[in-house]
């Protein structure tokens, strides 16, 4: 299957503020998580900058997935001291952060409708008016190279197409921080580069992307910051 054409042009932002390049977008003063007696990890003083691609590496079971889920507000942390978008929290995950932080599961769940409806979902939740919504949806579909598959139900998409759809669905919401869990783990070698391209494009548009993976193609990209989670501690390479 030939690679779909993926647009790399920057798209209009829907958010009011743009961050200066070197300012910290997300700052974790302290974050710990345990399962029962066993402490999974303790993270201190981690700062994420905009326009940067972070790769989260570590052995299976080290807690990569859990860390991403905590940052996305899908799971609670034991202790938490985090600052994002001007607000700090030491307890509950503020629901308004979900406007700017989006999480993509390792095996993303796609709604049983079609490509178009999936991409539109988040916009509908945000009550974006229909006219604007249609434009944004078309742009995101074009961005992911899925123009030819607009009305196709998810069950008929290939693995690569499904992953691109999941990314488009997140991207259309213009997140400041995108958390992606093992996006290329189950893809063949034709589909992987397309995903890498999309992630790079997000970064080029001044977003922050944190990717948990073992994929050397991503880890070895220029400009990538490697975060290694081993033995419960996070080290920046």
């Amino acid at each position: 299957m030939t690679a779909a054409k993926i647009s790399t042009t920057a798209l209009p932002t829907a958010l009011p503020t743009a961050m200066p390049n070197n300012e910290s977008m997300l700052f974790i003063k302290r974050l710990t998580k345990s399962f029962g007696e066993r402490q999974l990890f303790a993270i201190n003083n981690l700062s994420l900058r905009p326009g940067t691609l972070y790769v989260l590496t570590g052995d299976n079971g080290s807690g990569k997935t859990t860390l991403l889920r905590i940052l996305a507000g899908l799971e609670p942390a034991d202790t938490l001291d985090m600052t994002f978008a001007g607000t700090s929290t030491t307890a509950v995950y503020p629901p308004e952060w979900r406007q700017h932080i989006i999480h993509v599961h390792q095996h993303p769940y796609l709604f049983q409708s079609n490509v178009e409806a999936n991409v539109a979902y988040g916009l509908i939740m945000r009550k974006v008016p229909a006219a604007t919504r249609d434009v944004l949806v078309s742009e995101a579909i074009h961005w992911a190279g899925l123009d030819a598959r607009r009305g196709v139900p998810p069950k008929r998409l290939s693995g690569g197409e499904r992953q691109r759809l999941a990314l488009a669905r997140a991207k259309v919401l213009e997140p400041k921080l995108l958390l992606v869990d093992e996006p290329t783990a189950n893809l063949d070698r034709h589909a992987r580069p397309q995903i890498v391209l999309l992630l790079q494009n997000m970064v080029a548009a001044q977003r922050t992307v944190v990717v948990a993976c073992h994929d050397r193609e991503i880890i070895d990209l220029p400009g990538v910051v490697r975060l290694d989670l081993t033995d419960g501690a996070l080290t920046t390479a």
Binding site: Q99, H105, P108, Q112, L173
Partner: protein, 231 residues
């Protein structure tokens, strides 16, 4: 053979639009349709709440609900009868032997089926559906609706199952409806009567209608389901 002759007569009655016969069919559809209309929203909501909200005594409620799945319908009829009889607490309402009483009985019978199927479907839905919705900005209630929509075929299976249960049940309908010709006589009570009279053609004709209805509904459901099969 007598059975074959009766079946031929039955088909003739069906296709020449015998008014008594089709009148009974209409009452069946009307009563069961209305019963499902009022039971479904409440039942689906209850099933959903049971699947997603934890509260003290939840487990007991689920067990009771599931045991009502095979509750004898004639007992529902009996309890309803005792409430609605002239000597009963609600006798003043004059609801006994009316279509309203039948609708109430069938709604009560369908409720556990609908709720239990919804409970199972939502429980069977991966947590990931809810998380995806929330991650994309859905409020908890919108995310709940989305989850419910994603498992709609499993919920619909409950709907069809509930319909099947009430369209063919006779115990409750007989007790609270009274099998009055032209008003509370539905397909199963009519079959009961025609058999007692030895009028097998009528009984067979109505039986054919019931079977065709079941086939059509199941066929429609399977077609719909085919569209929505998960990989």
């Amino acid at each position: 053979m007598e059975l074959w002759a009766a079946t031929q007569e039955a088909l003739r009655m069906l296709f020449t639009g015998d008014p008594e016969l089709w009148g009974v069919v209409w009452i069946s559809l009307k009563v069961s349709g209305m019963a499902l209309l009022i039971a479904t929203p409440v039942a689906v909501l209850s099933g959903f709440v049971l699947a997603t909200v934890s509260f003290p005594g939840r487990r007991a409620v689920v067990v009771i609900l599931q045991s009502f799945l095979s509750f004898p319908t004639v007992v529902v009829g009996l309890v309803l009868y005792v409430l609605l009889a002239r000597s009963g607490p609600l006798g003043e309402l004059g609801l006994l032997y009316t279509q309203t009483a039948m609708i109430l009985g069938q709604a009560i019978i369908a409720f556990p089926v609908l709720a239990a199927f919804t409970l199972a479907s939502v429980q069977g839905a991966d947590r990931i559906v809810h998380e995806t919705a929330v991650s994309l900005g859905a409020s908890p209630s919108r995310a709940a609706l989305t989850t419910l929509f994603e498992v709609r075929f499993a919920v619909m299976a409950g709907l069809f199952n509930g319909f099947g249960r009430v369209i063919s049940e006779v115990g409750c309908a007989m007790m609270v409806g009274g099998n009055i010709a032209g008003s509370t006589r539905n397909i199963p009570t009519a079959i009961s009567l025609e058999t007692a009279k030895g009028e097998f053609s009528q009984g067979i004709a109505l039986g054919i209608v019931l079977i065709v209805m079941a086939l059509v509904i199941n066929g429609a459901f399977h077609t719909l389901q085919g569209e929505g099969q998960l990989k």
